[in-house]
Homo-oligomer: 376 residues x 2
């Protein structure tokens, strides 16, 4: 009330609307709403759900969550993101249907949807923009896809942004500056600056994979998927590692198989992983110089290569960055991965759809029902 | 009033206190305070001043400003920052005394002080931390130095942070993401992310000068002032350019002389400037990939080399960064430089000392007089 500037009776009236919409319940556990000194409120466990889907290059992980962003059920499916938006989003629809049906819910119970993709996103419009690897997705209207079935806000973000947000909120709530580096088929980076996701002017921030690195032991710079040569990803991404393992006579066809080979102690594979770590470490050291983060969390399939890759990254960062920036720096494996995407998305959607500030704005009459997806 | 949650009479009482302290006047021009529907207020022109000093490697530029951060008088002095804090801050004191005396003011009129230095700063405590080139300054208590003479808030920041803030606020108020690259004796970068200065976890963000670059045409990586080798600064900083010009038989002893030689069209100097631009461009391209800024403003003495250096930077950024991040990117010369530091500091201090939000907090009773440096 102190924050809304509304009279007690007006606040009570609006809170009552939330309660009667089945979205708030008194004295529940969880985050209380502010400004009602007489009682604490929580989002009602039976009052609604969120749906999220982490879309990777070769798979989807979808989850059903409560209104506070807590994941209650998950499902996975294989897809190829390069097949384009229609088949992939049809796959998302199917997972969402299964999750709702298993929980005895229907689309009208869904108060927010979150989706992440392995490419740059214009966050305001929810459209993928100029994705290097997502053929057919450029400018595709993802929120529009869901509008026919769901009447709620649809948030779309780059996968590493959701992962970074999930990691920070879940494990480093006191850390304002965090980088989440994902080493999978490609290489990307989510940035938390000042406690918020830093998406940049065009949704293109965190493009660690296409930083140029000069490597002494190659005669010619390798070609990258982006059209340039000598990118970090063209040396250290999963697809580049597969290329090099095959060139060395190893029979591998997926990044998971490459990870298995490294973990088995295959000397060529281990040597390539250490080298990939050092090359990636050069780019991470640049990011440390520029951002001065407190925590760098490493996720993605290749983070699971014992300590081979992390050792290379740490070696270069501590050699290359100034002591001021490394003294208190933690370089750690992601604690949430491979669930960082869905967990981060759930928290992002919960923030956007039911943030205390937004609820207060709604109470204050400044937000429409549409944005809060309320139907009181 | 709507924002403070206070009754009209309480707000009026507090605003009256500001007016009677000589800090606000009714119906003045400038930024109005909020929440007083009956009248507009502005900080009183005669009500107080701010003092700021931009401390560079070899000089100080000090300024007297009004409470809105508008510079009204400036003075310069030569110093060597490596002489340590006492002689340099004594120089600042002298400039402040002259500025006050010329304006018919005294220390009691000063409501905020801002100082920037060419090194990392712990913003919360106002202390320089682990500066690579500021001998004797580590952990020096700069606010404490001014406490004996001035009873007001003292803000200390890294020079490029103040420059970036000044550039953004003065010329790109609608741009949320901006980089300010300073190419002087050394090389640094101020970062505006989401409209705010990004200082990083330890005040070390924006350390563009010590990003490692591999250059093909050198047999051995040059040593840097930071103790590493192959840093951007060791190729493209003013000190490195002087080293290379002297090695080529040119008789130059200051960065300004090197700039003169480049502008005169000396072929060796022009070639070195283009090369410095391309090397710096590699690091700026990394920053574009990571931050995705809308504007990059180039300042510092070496920005004044006609277009030689900028051409090299643009060449590499457009070659190296993804189209998404460069499509709308502007790479321009700083419009405020060499006054970007004092102008940015003045705006930073005005924000901290007299931001509408802070004034409202003060009206609201949540801020002490000390922070607002008011003596009603």
């Amino acid at each position: 009330m102190q924050r809304t500037g509304l009279s007690r009776s007006t606040v009570n009236q609006r809170v009552d609307a939330l309660v009667s919409a089945g979205l708030l319940s008194q004295d529940g556990e969880g985050a209380p709403t502010r400004g009602r000194p007489a009682g604490r409120f929580a989002f009602h466990a039976g009052g609604g759900v969120l749906l999220v889907a982490d879309v990777g290059a070769t798979g989807i992980r979808a989850a059903l969550c409560d209104l506070a962003g807590k994941v209650s059920a998950e499902r996975e499916a294989r897809i190829e993101v390069a097949d384009g938006p229609e088949p992939v989003l049809t796959g998302v629809d199917e997972l969402f249907d299964q999750l709702l049906s298993e929980a005895g819910r229907n689309p009208a119970d869904v108060h927010g949807i979150g989706l992440d993709v392995p490419g740059p996103v214009d966050f305001a419009s929810g459209r993928v923009v100029s994705p290097p690897i997502m053929r057919g997705w450029d400018r595709f209207d993802i929120p529009g896809w869901f509008a026919s079935r769901y009447d709620c806000h649809v948030l779309v973000d780059k996968d590493v942004n959701a992962m970074a947000f999930g990691e920070q909120r879940s494990h480093y709530p006191d850390v304002d500056h965090l980088l989440m580096v994902k080493i999978g088929t490609g290489i990307g980076c989510g940035i938390i600056a000042g406690g918020q996701v830093h998406r940049g002017a065009d949704g293109g921030a965190g493009d660690l994979g296409h930083i140029h690195i000069t490597v002494d032991d190659v005669a010619e710079e390798p070609a990258c998927r982006c059209g340039n040569t000598g990118c970090v990803e063209a040396y250290a991404g999963g697809w580049a590692l597969l290329r090099d393992l095959r060139a060395a006579g190893r029979d591998v066809s997926t990044v998971d198989e490459a990870v298995g080979l490294i973990r088995s102690g295959d000397l060529v594979a281990v040597r390539l992983a250490r080298r990939a770590g050092r090359i990636l470490g050069e780019a991470v050291a640049d990011a440390v110089n520029l951002f001065n983060p407190r925590v760098i969390a490493i996720g993605g399939q290749l983070a699971h290569t014992d300590e081979q890759l992390l050792a290379g990254i740490r070696e270069l960062v501590y050699r290359r960055s100034l002591p001021l920036a490394t003294r208190k720096l933690q370089i750690v494996r992601s604690q949430l991965d491979p669930r960082a995407g869905v967990i981060g998305l759930a928290l992002l959607v919960a923030d956007v759809v039911f943030a205390p500030d937004l609820v207060e704005q709604w109470i204050d009459g400044r937000l429409s029902h549409r944005v809060l997806s309320l139907r009181p």
